[in-house]
Amino acid sequence: MNERSNPMRPLLGTLAGVKDLADDVKLFQIELNGQSFDYRPGQFAFVSAFGVGEAPFGLASTSGRTSQLEFAVNRIGTVTAALHSLEPGAIVGVRGPLGNSFPLDEMRGKNIVVLGGGIGGAPLRPVIHTILDRRTEYGKLTILWAARKPSLLVFTDEYDAWRSAPDTELHLTVDEGSPPWTGNVGLITQLLEQVAPSPENAAAIICGPPIMIKFVLLGLKKLGFADEQMIMTLEAKMKCGIGKCGRCNMGEIFVCLHGPVFSYTQVSRFLESFV
């Protein structure tokens, strides 16, 4: 069996760094021991806290920018709590890359609207990085970044870099503001109405809680975005990430195999609602 590739067997990695990203959210930077893998924005990996289990996380790093794998982990369950208790130097397991990726090649030349809610911003970060690193290949970049409150906004240390990139706008909003927040207060759907990006030669990429995605889709439709112009990444409970354990199906589609990135054209045909 050792000669055969075993997709259930993780690679071992060392936790190189842990950064506080937001309330109960940490950014884990993992250095794989020896081997590494190539991945594209939108893909995910399973991270193991040995002794507790493994869980899927979107890759928040960009393979062109760093050799480390970065994951934003929200402490909400057993595996995430175990990961949060780890210190740099700890050994973890990683299985990836899994799933499909955002169709960034097909989106070249288009105006991109990125909409991220809360920790949903994590898989969108490599999208923004890729566009910024290949700036002339893409049109206008409009980023709408939201969270329930200011302390839940992620990657705040990158906002200046995003804002100052050519032909790039960053709009932030929080559901509930509190001092010292002086920015926008309101839902991302309200922000979307205000910013009103044009659907002309545009593509929208959305990530966040299912209910946020649902209402953002409605908001984009109102602005004239067609089904195939709206791309989202979905989450589901997963145990294998390779289409075997049966759990993550939406009808005949498996989120881990056929997704997690889907266009609304695909999602609108799902028999089961993703919300």
Partner: protein, 287 residues
């Protein structure tokens, strides 16, 4: 006698549904292949589906919580009628005491039960049953049958008690060996309604997911303990088990201890709550 009960259920169901007094009658029906199964009748025109005989062994109280649990009930929610044998009504008592079901939301069609048949005559646990009509009901069908009641001697448990610990371990190892952790026993039991069963809890992981005897034994023994003073000995668990494991023996042993300690039989009295689910400042037994 079963015919009278069956007819009585249909008449009552038709009345309740056509007057709009209940939204659903939960009873029994026969499948096209002749198997007895729970039935949910929503329309007065469908009451002919309802049957009753001495193989109606499901405890229908398992279906009440999802229909009439306090958190789900509002003024507009209709009542549910349920066909209930004496043991089923005792289970309902337990659920009412534990705040899981609102009494007013349930119409109990009580059955004067002659006992369940088990292929060799009336089942032993039914022969021991002292009540022939439920301890409470909203309507009664059938007449209290004249049956000789077997004295409660706990004879079934005596066999277990006579075994040495090693023999008892061997016995249960043999029985749990074929358990497949399907949880049919738990799901069929009206007393098991935890949102997340302890064996499925991940944090902490009390028991691994392995289908091995230690884990299976843990599940069954813990479940029996969690039913101490709450199990009404309806044997729905035995009936549900695809491997015919005599699960009720565990509950019977614990029931014997509860009777000796508290003089209590689960659900027997609408006024007296389960002793292990009740806190009194003045406990009768010294600690």
């Amino acid at each position: 006698m079963s015919d009278d009960i069956e007819e009585g259920i249909r008449v009552r169901a038709r009345e309740l549904l056509s007057l709009g007094e209940v939204g659903c009658v939960v009873g029994y029906e026969r499948s096209p292949k002749g198997r007895i199964r729970p039935a949910f009748v929503y329309d007065a025109g469908d009451v002919h589906r309802l049957v009753w005989d001495q193989t109606c062994h499901h405890n229908l109280m398992v279906y009440l919580r999802e229909r009439v649990a306090p958190s789900r009930t509002n003024e507009a929610a209709p009542r549910t009628a349920v066909v209930a044998r004496p043991c089923d009504v005792r289970a309902l008592n337990v659920l009412i005491h534990e705040g899981q079901v609102i009494r007013e939301q349930v119409f109990v069609i009580g059955v004067a039960c002659p006992g369940m048949l088990d292929g060799e005559g009336v089942a032993e646990h039914c022969q021991r049953c002292k009540e022939r009509t439920p301890v409470f009901y909203d309507a009664l069908v059938g007449r209290a049958p004249k049956v000789d009641v077997l004295d409660e001697t706990w004879a079934d448990v005596a066999g277990l008690e006579a075994m040495s610990p090693a023999e008892r371990l061997a016995f249960w190892t043999r029985e749990f060996d074929r358990c497949i952790r399907c949880y049919a026993c738990r799901q069929a039991c009206p007393g098991c309604y935890c949102f997340e069963c302890l064996v499925e809890q991940v944090d902490p992981s009390w028991v691994s997911i392995a289908h091995k005897v230690p884990e299976k034994a843990f599940f069954h023994v813990m479940r029996a303990y969690h039913l101490a003073g709450r199990c009404v000995e309806c044997h729905a668990c035995d009936q549900a088990c695809p491997m015919h494991i005599p699960l009720s023996l565990l509950n019977r042993k614990i029931a014997k201890e509860v009777k000796a300690l508290f003089g209590y039989v689960a659900g027997g009295d609408p006024e007296i709550p389960p002793p292990l689910a009740t806190f009194r400042k003045d406990e009768e037994l010294p600690l």
